[in-house]
Symmetry: C2
């Protein structure tokens, strides 16, 4: 019997699609990667996932897991061999448990992130993971890539928000590690090994997540800085002044704002004259009340103005104004899209290296690629910049993109030289896989290969992703 027929027998014909039926799932969102499969399957529960894995094992068929297909690195797209089975977890979308006294939520991997946030809110709690794709990405994808987003500064990545996991192993066993414990020192940290492994070590089917109190009040402001160094100094000031109340600090260069103004002229900018080189969106979350939040916010901002850390601050006076500020930040991706393709780099460096990184990388770019334009924005508090580079005026996008390999290498080399990472929050997938050999030490790559070999000795879980080919 063929694998396709056996899958149909296992799951029923309506939950097994062939390549033609599954076509939309076989390419990533940006059309960079396209693959083929034996079948795309939709198991209904963890036991069925395990059965699919065992069946694929008997047929030596690779397995590629896909969540909302919103990833940027091609981690969820199968290769072109047509040998793989695409595993969709969309039917595993139950909230299994809400435990308010323990401040935890147990949900299945196929849950849309926004539904997880809503389930928390329905229990008067906050699940703080938040990112642009939250309306369509799934928790399983968030965990597979250790997703970041706009609240990492206060709450950490997906990893820090997870207490327990349920995982189907490469040989189709189920590991029930769904513990809702803040402290459990009984052996190796399997949880964190599976998180961020992009489906190459096991298949995450459910997770127990941390919940937090909902803030009683929030204040948002748009800030103008005379230099990037002042923005970094302000961040330090805000950390002292707000402590854990500092829940977002999103940096945007003046060029980003100019682009927003060009692309969306109807959206009002807080500082329409755009006289400063750097801007940031600041958010304070307060556990007391509006009055306290506002007084503290104004005091900390006032001190910063007095000490020249800030040039100006525009404080949102209503929820609508606050939402408009967030909207500015969130339309940056669209604004870039409308302005034509650019080269995106999701880098991080220690916060203390941000200024040196930006200044030296900007200068190197102008030296080697005269006239290119930087659109730098991102999560300054995490040292994570989306350091994007657009074509020089007078040159075409195509000419610019032809320099992709050399220009990106310059940016990545610079991040690496500043103690940084070439993928802060987007992962590795197939897109950055071969870069790892340049930026990871041989000993680290060897340790990764050994772990892969230990947990997936037949190499059937998401082959060709994350790990560069082992050197001979």
């Amino acid at each position: 019997m063929t694998l396709f027929s056996e899958l149909q027998q296992l799951l029923g014909a309506d939950r097994v699609q062939d390549s033609a039926q599954a076509e939309a799932l076989l390419r990533d969102r940006h059309g960079r990667f396209v693959g083929r499969v034996v079948a795309a399957v939709h198991p209904r529960d963890t036991a069925e996932v395990a059965a699919v894995v065992r069946l694929c094992g008997r047929h030596t068929a690779p397995i590629v897991v896909q969540g909302g297909n919103t990833g940027l690195m091609g981690a969820a797209t199968p290769d072109a061999s047509g040998r793989a089975v695409l595993l969709l977890l969309d039917r595993l979308n139950r909230v299994r448990q809400v435990d308010t006294d323990n401040d935890t939520l147990t949900v299945e991997a196929g849950c849309i992130l926004q539904h997880v946030q809503e389930a928390a809110r329905a229990a008067s709690r906050l699940f703080p993971l938040s990112l642009g794709a939250e309306g369509s990405c799934t928790l399983g994808g968030n965990l597979g890539t250790n997703a970041g987003g706009v609240a990492v500064l206060r709450y950490g990545n997906a990893r820090e928000l997870t207490l327990g996991l349920e995982v189907v192993t490469a040989d189709g066993q189920i590991w029930d590690g769904l513990r809702g414990l803040r402290k459990d020192n009984t052996g190796y940290d399997l949880r964190d090994l599976f998180i961020g492994s992009e489906g190459t070590l096991g298949i995450i089917t459910a997770a127990t997540l941390k919940l937090f109190p909902l803030p009683a009040a929030q204040c948002t402001a748009f800030l103008a800085f005379a230099s990037l160094a002042r923005a970094v100094a302000f961040l330090s000031h805000a950390r002292r002044g707000f402590s854990a109340g500092l829940t977002a600090f999103e940096l945007l260069s003046v060029d980003c704002l100019r682009l927003l103004r060009e692309q969306f002229p109807a959206s009002p900018l807080p500082f329409p004259e755009l006289e400063q080189p750097w801007y940031a969106l600041l958010e304070l979350s307060d556990h007391q009340d509006e009055a306290h939040a506002r007084a503290l916010f104004e005091r900390v901002l006032g001190d910063a103005l007095e000490n020249d850390l800030l040039v100006d601050a525009w404080i949102a006076e209503s929820l609508a104004q606050s939402e408009a500020l967030w909207c500015l930040r969130e339309t940056m991706s669209d604004a870039q899209k409308c302005a034509g393709q650019n080269m995106k780099h999701d880098i991080s460096v220690p916060v203390s290296q941000i200024v040196a990184f930006v200044e030296s990388t900007d200068a190197l770019l102008q030296q080697h690629f005269p006239g290119v334009r930087n659109y730098t924005f991102g999560h300054l508090g995490d040292g994570n910049l989306h350091y994007n580079v657009a074509h020089a005026p007078g040159r075409s996008v195509a000419e610019h993109m032809a320099n992709y390999a050399a220009l990106s290498q310059l940016v990545h080399d610079s991040a690496h030289a500043h103690g940084g990472s070439i993928s802060a929050e987007h992962g590795i997938g197939q897109r950055k896989r071969d870069l790892l050999a340049r930026y990871k030490s041989p000993v680290e790559l060897e340790l990764m290969h050994r772990i892969k070999q230990a947990l997936d000795p037949r190499g059937l879980l998401n082959p060709g992703k994350v790990l560069p080919e082992a050197s001979a």
Copy 2:
């Protein structure tokens, strides 16, 4: 040449001790475990640690790393075979870097925890890991066991406080993973695999740690509760009211306080009549100032009194009073020692299961071991109780301790049945090693064994610790 001579040649004779010279290091603090070694060695830097590991590899000699020798599970004590080399990291005690803009500190594994705290404070920052042994335990031991302590509620375990590691692998290579990055999604999470592995997967030689702003003010109170359920409900109330300002919530049963009164009659108790069954030490850390802290503290406690969550609250009016409250909490270990040996259990359960766990376990104990006395205290906010059991009045300590295996199994079975852990913060070592087979699933044990095999295929790193013997 013998291993001993080669070690002397490598390090110099003054940094290589024989078993007789190293005698004090070959037993754990409580004298439960005693071992023998070929030598105890004191390398001066990471390269020397790697050289020792390679040398031991050539002689097929096991390596046991030891920090401050304060562990409770015998993880740092070699076995009796006399084949091992004991590796002391006391010379690796440098602070390599303080990066205030990045809020990180890079220190070597041999640093005493208190010195790490002091280095942070000298930079006007907080390194929040804090536990009873902080004056003598080392950061390496803290990371090897993923130490917990009194500030986990707000800041997490040692794991959550660590951004990067330097590790010597089983084959004597050096992995430089000392990254000071909040976001880095470039491959498998090796860091968290080494943390908590108790020296069985690699030897941690340095770490880059997270720093936090120093609180501007702190308030401490001693609280009296009519029941354990009220204490749990109060905790939820305090989380909402204080949010991240809630930095400690240490529970003590009335029997613990009676014991303290008996053993240290000179120490004044906030509620000398001891009329309630449960008490707790509460700490608020505030980033504004004394006045704000005090007003918030009184408001949240006032609301709790009004809603009957609390029976009474005794607020410390001075630093001296606050320190006296902490002293009460910290002398619990000594008080128990003075009262004669008891059976200690470092368990955790979801906070929502605390009441059910304590009530059912107390009842089961009385049924099977009539008259035994509970001394239950611990970190309620983490679901982590030190659930200690002393002899029944009229029975000897020796008679009581003869029941150790059966009584402890009852307690551990109960924690496990309530979704809990048999070792919340003390680790496994050799003492709890064989219990894992009872409480871990075969699939989890198999994954652990595979990882051990992958990273230490010759089994030379701290053999006999953490992992139960592989089943045939």
